[in-house]
């Protein structure tokens, strides 16, 4: 199973409308990007971690999917630690590097914030089926169906492109072009893939057109995209975690607004 494909299962979360997952993740991060203190991020992270158990992923899948965030967060933290705003006592000073009270606090806040925003987003998106998302975007948010379905059909071509890439690589070796520099070979191969993908894309467009896509008739939807109480609940959870986190940080005086 590839990292691109959605995880399937029977847990409740799988049947929640993807649009609600998108909205919940957006609202949550909306609250968390107005401030850069560690309190709000920590509160949000604690509240979120109570819910991860219900996210429909087992431990292995959870860490596999979120691996990038676990790597990115400490790296960003380290950068902030070394180059962040100088404030309070300075512990290490070396050319551009300053480690001070200010940069230590900011580094912790950064790590927590990336986790608090990134983890729920990845976890919510991991169980989104692209087809269901397209249904939701078109039916609930009323985005243009041409655009939504075009993107959805295009997404399906990605796995074909991966196969194409592999084939192109082997073909280059077979044609005597496998010994040249990596960069040049990559460029040539990337161009070949571009040509192939345009051809695949136009064939797919023809096939879609042949099935009446893009005509003047108002489209119906075979799958109803429902936005009911469960969806509102998820959105409310996302918003409340953000709101509680922000309120706590204001109440404790730790808040540091990004703007103003």
């Amino acid at each position: 199973m590839s990292i691109l494909t959605p995880i399937r299962g029977t847990a409740r979360i799988y049947t929640v409308n993807p649009v609600a997952k998108l909205a919940a993740a957006l609202l949550l991060s909306g609250f968390l990007i107005v401030t850069i203190d560690w309190v709000s991020a920590a509160v949000a992270l604690v509240l979120e971690s109570l819910l991860f158990a219900n996210a429909g992923l087992d431990g292995r899948a959870f860490f596999r999917r979120t691996a990038a965030i676990w790597i990115a967060a400490p790296l960003a933290g380290l950068t902030t630690l070394l180059y962040g705003v100088q404030d309070g006592r300075t512990y290490v000073e070396l050319w551009l590097i300053h480690i001070s009270d200010g940069s230590i606090v900011l580094a912790i806040a950064t790590v927590l914030r990336i986790l608090a925003i990134g983890l729920p987003a990845v976890v919510l998106f991991a169980t989104i089926d692209p087809t269901d998302l397209a249904d939701g975007l078109a039916q609930v948010w009323h985005l243009p169906s041409r655009f939504v379905l075009g993107a959805l059909a295009g997404l399906r071509l990605i796995s074909l492109f991966l196969d194409d890439w592999r084939q192109l690589e082997l073909a280059r070796r077979a044609r005597g072009l496998g010994d040249t520099g990596r960069v040049r070979r990559f460029a040539g191969q990337a161009f070949a893939l571009l040509v192939l993908s345009l051809r695949r894309g136009s064939k797919l467009a023809t096939a879609m057109e042949a099935r009446g896509f893009g005509g003047s008739i108002t489209r119906t939807w075979a799958r109803e995209s429902v936005f009911g109480s469960r969806e509102w609940l998820l959105v409310a959870i996302g918003a409340s975690i953000g709101a509680i986190a922000l309120a706590t940080s204001i109440a404790t005086g730790a808040v540091r607004f990004v703007v103003g």
């Binding site: 072009l177 064939k203 042949a210 009446g212 119906t220």
Partner: protein, 526 residues
């Protein structure tokens, strides 16, 4: 033949589904940027409810006509149109959705990720109410003989299943006309039968007009009641009931590349000069696999315990069911991917390196952990340089487009010769020679992507042969080819075999195996 042969009751149940006729009046189309017309001056009438097999040589404009009837040829910026084309008395653009079109490439016409959703796609576009869509989807899948869960991922289907899903998607739209543009060209023999039977079932159950394009007449003979042969460039060469057309025009059709039942594309002659038995053991061994295991993705062995000896001047056919790992085996034998286990040894005859020398010629190629067995680098094709591979093993890929690396046919033929750093005179000489033998002279300046299917296949074979490899590995070289290209390929490979080139071909093609193979290697299955 026309209308109403299926009884009043079914016709009534199908309410508005009256079949529509097709009509072309002095019609012509020229693709944008081309100087010649794909079709011109075509007059044609297909009555409602007729089942027609449309034949014609490669490049006779059959596909263009089908796209035009389906209303997907595009507007004025895609090309120039003259004359008139009518579907049920109306212009095709106005009747989109009433005409269903199934295309050749299974991968390019599956739109959605789940079987049920894909079949429902056309209905949605036509504005069919939701309550009505799902019964239609179930019925359409049953009609094409697919018993699949609606949420089955389309990516997990075989080529034949994908084509049947596409057909189901079309008939769920309840079209007046169903057009099939070489629906079986990319399928193995089992897939061909699968799709043909599905179409036959659909044709029986429907009173829509059917038109199918295909080279292989015998496959469709029982399904159609009229054969129309297009003349290259426009006009109708022959038209009538299948038996009459084949009797009167069979020879002409066969010469034009149509697979006429009973006609031998090789004209009765053998593909190879010397009979099979005369060769045998005296020929030097080039490549030997013992207990070979192959994998595409490291860690996922797709076939193992393979023993095969490739000798100069001998043809090995690799057969077996879909997914048995035949293509992966071919790529491994061709030295393109490292083996997963067992041994694959190139003899000094092939590699030109005497094992007594003992010194691995290119130790820097060693990547630790990658090469697990005690085959010396000189004897392991996967460790040769790309350039060294050229004159030893040439590969022809299943999809010619994957191996195009240049903007012109001439460029394609020169690539490997340049890599071999041959002098310009020799490059010119070899290109002229191979282009002549494979009828590519006229096309030397054309862009490879603009060639027809048969021309692309000839080019992909030519570009491997031009380096004069000792072994030629081909993956399904005869898939979807018309009989003329088929015969050319078989003769050319026969010639190569007679000259001492070894041929390894992955193929399902019985006739190809009978014409050429010395040994058959069965992979997977029983």
């Amino acid at each position: 033949m026309p209308i109403g042969t299926h009884g009043e009751d079914t016709a009534a149940a199908r309410d508005e589904r009256a079949a529509a006729g097709l009509r072309a009046e002095n019609w012509g189309w020229r693709h944008a940027g081309r100087s010649s017309w794909a079709l011109r001056g075509l007059d044609l009438v297909i009555e409602p409810g007729e089942r027609v097999l449309l034949l014609g040589a490669s490049g006779a404009g059959k596909s263009t006509l089908m796209h035009a009837f389906a209303g997907v040829l595009g507007g004025a910026d895609e090309g120039e149109e003259e004359g008139e084309l009518l579907v049920g008395g109306r212009r095709p653009e106005e009747t989109r959705g009433r005409v269903g079109l199934v295309l050749q490439d299974p991968d390019s016409q599956i739109v959605l990720a789940r079987v049920g959703d894909d079949v429902a796609f056309g209905c949605e576009n036509l504005g069919v109410p939701r309550d009505e869509i799902w019964p239609r989807v179930g019925k359409a899948l049953a009609e094409v003989g697919l018993d699949l869960a609606l949420d089955r991922p389309t990516s997990a289907l075989s080529g034949g299943q994908k084509q049947r899903v596409a057909l189901a998607g079309v008939i769920a739209m309840r079209p007046d006309v169903v057009l099939l543009d070489e629906p079986t060209a990319n399928l193995d023999p089992a897939g061909v039968v699968e799709v043909r039977d599905a179409v036959a079932g659909v044709v029986r159950a429907s009173n829509a007009t059917f038109v199918v394009i295909e080279h292989r007449v015998d496959v469709w003979l029982d399904v159609v009641d009229r054969v129309i042969v297009l003349e290259p460039g426009g006009g109708v060469l022959a038209d009538g009931d299948p038996a009459t057309v084949l009797r009167e025009r069979g020879e002409e059709l066969a010469a034009g590349g149509v697979w006429v039942p009973g006609a031998d594309p090789l004209g009765g002659g053998p593909a190879r000069e010397r009979p099979v038995l005369e060769r045998a053991v005296t020929h030097p061994l080039l490549l030997e696999a013992a207990a070979l295991a192959v994998e595409r993705v490291p860690g996922t062995v797709v076939a193992d315990c393979i023993d095969v000896r490739v000798r100069a001047g001998e043809a090995t056919a690799v057969t077996g069911p879909n997914g048995a790992g035949k293509s992966t085996l071919a790529l491994t034998l061709a030295g393109l991917i490292p083996r997963a286990g067992g041994t694959l040894v190139a003899t000094p005859e092939l590699s030109g390196v005497d094992p007594a020398d003992g010194v691995p010629p290119r130790p820097r190629l060693l990547r630790l952990g990658r090469w697990r067995h005690d085959v010396t680098p000189a004897a392991d094709p996967a460790r040769w340089t790309s350039r060294a591979l050229l004159t030893r093993i040439g590969t022809v890929f299943q999809d010619p487009e994957h191996q195009f690396v240049s903007g012109s046919v001439r460029g394609e033929l020169e690539v490997s010769l340049r890599a071999l750093r041959l002098p310009p005179e020799e490059i010119a000489e070899r290109v002229a020679d191979v282009a002549g033998r494979l009828r590519l002279e006229e096309l030397l300046d054309a862009n490879p992507y603009t060639l027809s299917g048969g021309e692309k296949r000839r080019l992909s074979v030519a570009s491997a042969l031009v380096a004069r490899p000792r072994i030629l590995v081909l993956d399904e070289p005869t898939f979807g080819q018309d009989s003329r290209t088929w015969a050319e390929l078989v003769r050319l490979l026969g010639e190569q075999l007679d000259r001492g080139t070894a041929v390894v071909a992955v193929t399902h093609d019985r006739a190809f195996i009978e014409a050429l193979a010395d040994q058959v290697l069965e992979v997977g299955g029983s």
